[in-house]
């Protein structure tokens, strides 16, 4: 079984698709879209190092063995949902195990009131119109092999549809618990739709308790934000250090809408975040923030693209990384300003700290600009702990360890502070603090 080639795995995905395609949720149009996505995936194959977009994250390293395309929950495993719930009490919780919704543990009924929240499979029947209208629409123009593969094959995930004017105060926390077998590959696909003037806060929490399992999690989140609507979308990526995680968030914003995201990455062996924001209306506002704290042999790649299609939009990005041991961090961000998107304000910043000589940081902050009346800038810096600051704290009788921890904490807090849900922010603060100890 050892050492199969990447093209071989691409082929095995295509074979599996042929087996299951008829049973996937959606009408004939969706099936056509899935088939097209599969074709594009096969044509492109899993991205290798030679692919400019995966220059620092070629899949040669992670795709070495046969992949199991189906996952089953091992019944003997008992999951303590309440512990997870208690860590963040001020939220409504939804639980997924290996990409399957655990309905009896989730607060879906409490949410059902006016909001539509259901699995993708149910959505295809109960909310067929919405599902067929939105599924895959934000992925079509996005030439990423993983996202195409997901769009072709995904049958799990959630549809969250917030109707016009509805404001959901309590954050919805989606907990993903990985218990999958070695080499299993599961894919979820969320559709999050906020109609005019609606507002919703969503948190995705990725955990995996079992230290021995190495699985693949390839997720796509399609977020549609209508006029004057607001979506806050936060992720805590804390799976164990065997897991390969690929996460694509495809956002489509209409006039005067607001989107805020914050990605905290501390887990996984190999992780890639793709964030694609399309600003398709005037006066949109979008904030992307991320923090990665890596140790061991972790590899984390944050890829962002903010596509300014219309005038008078603002976008802001702040990504920070702390790299210990042999950790490898990548930040690749692009501000893309189209011909018509005058009066754009776009800012991007990437700041990183290397804590060891074996750590590596690769950054590629990019500007691609076709409109002249814009203010766009980016900054990137990589360095180590400021010796003067360290000395100052040492002179105040802090131990070297304490002083370092304090400085790292101060470095990280800038990203955490941008989380706009108080209860979740303190939850993250606790986790990060533990991480520094």
């Amino acid at each position: 079984m050892n050492n199969v080639s990447v093209p071989h795995i691409t082929q095995s995905a295509a074979d599996h698709f042929r087996l299951v395609s008829a049973s996937l949720p959606g009408d004939s149009k969706v099936l056509e879209l899935r088939t097209n996505a599969m074709e594009r995936f096969v044509a492109k194959g899993f991205p290798l190092k030679s692919d400019e977009e995966y220059k620092y994250s070629g899949t040669e390293k992670i795709l070495k063995d046969e992949i199991l395309w189906t996952t089953e929950i091992a019944p003997e495993r008992v999951i303590d949902f309440d512990t997870i719930r208690n860590l963040h009490k001020d939220a409504l919780h939804v639980f997924f195990v290996n990409g399957e919704l655990i309905e009896q543990a989730s607060d879906i009924n409490a949410l059902q009131n006016k909001l539509v929240i259901c699995t993708l499979k149910n959505a295809a029947y109960d909310h067929a119109e919405v599902f067929n209208k939105y599924y895959g629409k934000n992925v079509v123009g996005f030439d990423d092999a993983f996202a195409q593969l997901n769009t072709a094959m995904a049958c799990n995930g959630l549809l969250i549809h917030v109707p016009e004017g509805l404001i959901i105060e309590k954050p919805i926390q989606i907990n993903h618990i990985g218990y999958a077998n070695n080499q299993s590959f599961y894919q979820q696909h969320h559709l999050i739709i906020a109609d005019k003037g609606a507002s919703v806060n969503i948190i995705e929490n990725y955990i995996s308790n079992d230290q021995s399992d190495a699985y693949f999690n390839n997720q796509v989140n399609e977020i549609f934000i209508a006029e004057n609507a607001q979506v806050k979308y936060y992720q805590l990526q804390n799976e164990n250090k065997q897991v390969v995680h690929i996460n694509a968030t495809q956002v489509h914003q209409e006039q005067s809408s607001y989107f805020d995201t914050n990605t905290i990455t501390i887990g996984s062996a190999w992780l890639r975040n793709n964030l694609n924001i399309k600003l398709n209306g005037l006066h949109c506002e979008t904030h992307l923030n991320g923090l990665q704290i890596l140790s061991g042999q972790q590899h984390v790649d944050n890829h962002t693209l903010v596509d300014h299609q219309m005038p008078h939009c603002n976008s802001n990005q702040l990504y920070k990384g702390i790299l210990k041991d042999k950790g490898t961090g990548v930040f690749n961000g692009k501000i893309f300003v189209r011909r018509d998107a005058q009066k754009t304000n776009a800012y991007q910043s990437s700041k990183n700290m290397l804590m060891s000589d074996d750590a590596t940081m690769n950054t590629k902050p990019q500007l691609e600009i076709y409109a002249d009346d814009v203010k766009c800038s980016h900054g990137s810096s990589t360095g180590q702990i400021d010796k003067n600051a360290l000395f100052y704290l040492r002179s105040r009788a802090l131990s070297e360890d304490k002083a370092r921890t304090l400085l790292l904490h101060a470095f990280a807090i800038e990203v955490i502070e941008k989380i706009n849900i108080a209860s979740y922010r303190s939850y993250i603060e606790n986790i990060i603090e533990q991480r520094f100890e």
Binding site: E52, Q342, S356, M361, V374, H378, S380, T382
Partner: protein, 483 residues
């Protein structure tokens, strides 16, 4: 504003004339026998031919780098290029009087009077010129004066004949023929170029300069420059280039290698003004150049300064490998694109030694329908302790039909490194323009003033003679291009 735009688009490339010089050319196309032909023409030793053939067979296996640069151009037919074109020289020239008068006229038109150079011998601010026309060096001035100091400054072919040990020792050490598609092509078919060697402890008393001119039609220019600064030496080197206006696209693929030994310093300045094509994007030079220097030993310094205003398509990344401890690399660039020009240019700073420093200042100006990209790499190797880099990349957009892009690559493998990168994109401030106009300066002049101020940081790095030329060039390239 529209009128002014009209005026500029009508302004002509002033170096676009052709000269009627008797030429000696190779048959069209590329194969092994062409390479043997070139080598034979130049009466090269066997090792040189062997190097060319090795490069050629490597080139055959390589692909044109088309997927990553932010430029697009039609497929180049490499079999439809003349790889060797030289002005016919009847015999060895003993003095300038024997040079073909047509040739001298050409250089006079370009503002480089070889004769005048001769007359002014002894004046401090003189520049020694190596004039290269269609891949062949026609005349090198001040050779004797330089020889007194032990400086070797001659054409590349001459160096192959007279200093084979130096050429053999250094050629291909910085840019091996395996490096990239165009470097391989150049290594196989290069015809001439400049060679410069500054011996131990010598400070070159004058600016050395090479003037490149493409003249013949249907040819490609493939020259090679090799500069070696031995221990403690210093040299400032200038490079200028122009080409006639033609409807066809001509290929220019050069290789420049710089080697700086202990405590040596090399300053390399370029004013690149190849024919950029007409206002509809017809014709122009494809400029695919590999330029790289290595700070081989401790305390050495290499500095690149470039003013890029020409070429239809530019693909150029002057780089420095900072191998010696405490070595310094610098890159200062102004890249201007107008009409349909495309430029993908920047630098690479590879930090290997300890306490190495590099500075990157890049100013891009795009106007018309052009696209101007900065693409740069800063790489800190493991063990490159206390490496320091600062990069500043600014782009200025003039008009709403052009594009300005920044693609920096930053790869860091050492925790003691401090690397900073900043980039901005904007247009000329309304308030700045208003201020100037309020003081009675018309729009045209105000723009020139503001742009000059914007580029000042880079122009300050140029030798005086070049700085003046560069400023004028900039004014011509951009005249009224603000809409």
């Amino acid at each position: 504003m529209a009128d002014i735009l009209e005026e500029v688009t009508g302004s002509e490339y002033k170096y676009g004339f052709t000269s009627d010089i008797e030429m000696d050319t190779a048959p069209i196309g590329l194969n092994e026998s062409i390479i043997r032909f070139i080598s034979e023409k130049k009466n090269e030793p066997a090792w040189m031919l062997e190097y060319r053939l090795k490069a050629y067979s490597k080139w055959l296996t390589m692909k044109e780098p088309k997927h990553w640069p932010h430029v697009s151009y039609p497929e180049i037919d490499f079999q439809n290029i003349i790889y060797y074109a030289a002005p016919k020289l009847k015999k060895e020239l003993a003095s300038l009087d024997e040079v073909d008068p047509e040739l001298l006229k050409t250089f006079e038109k370009l503002g480089i009077s070889l004769e005048e150079q001769k007359r002014l011998t002894g004046v401090q601010s003189n520049i020694a010129v190596d004039a290269v026309i269609d891949s062949v060096s026609v005349k090198t001035t001040f050779k004797e004066t330089l020889a007194e100091k032990g400086i070797i400054f001659c054409s590349f072919s001459e160096a192959v004949q007279e200093h084979p040990e130096l050429v053999r020792k250094y050629m291909g050490t910085v840019v091996p023929y395996t490096d990239n598609f165009y470097a391989a092509l150049n290594s196989a078919v290069f015809t001439d170029g400049s060679f410069c060697y500054i011996p131990k402890g010598v400070r070159c008393p004058m600016e050395l300069s090479t003037y490149f001119r493409i003249n013949a039609s249907g040819t490609g220019q493939f020259e090679r420059t090799l500069i070696i600064a031995d221990e403690g030496a210093y040299v400032s080197y200038l490079e200028g280039c122009t080409a006639p206006m033609r409807d066809e696209n001509q290929l220019h693929a050069a290789v420049v290698e710089i080697i700086a030994h202990k405590n040596a310093e090399v300053k390399y300045s370029t004013v690149q003004n190849w024919y950029p094509g007409d206002k509809d994007g017809k014709g122009g030079i494809y400029n695919f150049v590999t330029k790289r220097g290595i700070c081989l030993e401790d305390n050495s310094k290499i500095s690149w300064t470039q003013v890029e205003t020409g070429s239809a398509v530019t693909w150029k990344y002057p780089s420095v490998i900072l191998k010696g401890n405490n070595s310094v690399g610098e890159f200062y660039s102004v890249a201007v694109t107008n009409h349909h020009q495309q430029a993908d240019t920047g630098t690479k700073m590879i930090h290997i030694g300890r306490n190495t420093r590099s500075t990157i200042v890049s100013k891009g100006i795009s106007a018309g329908l052009s696209n101007n990209s900065y693409r740069g790499l800063v790489k800190i190797h493991k063990g490159a302790k206390n490496a320091r880099n600062f990069s500043q990349c600014d782009s200025l957009l003039m008009g709403d039909k052009c594009g300005a892009h920044t693609f920096p690559y930053i790869e860091i493998k050492d925790q003691s490194a401090i690397v900073e990168h900043e980039a901005t994109t904007s247009k000329i401030g309304e308030d700045q323009l208003f201020y100037c106009k309020q003081r009675g300066i018309d729009t045209e002049k105000a723009i020139a003033l503001i742009v000059n101020g914007y580029c000042k940081e880079v122009f300050n790095q140029l030798p005086m003679e070049f700085a003046v030329e560069a400023q004028k060039l900039l004014a011509v390239s951009l005249e009224g291009s603000v809409g």
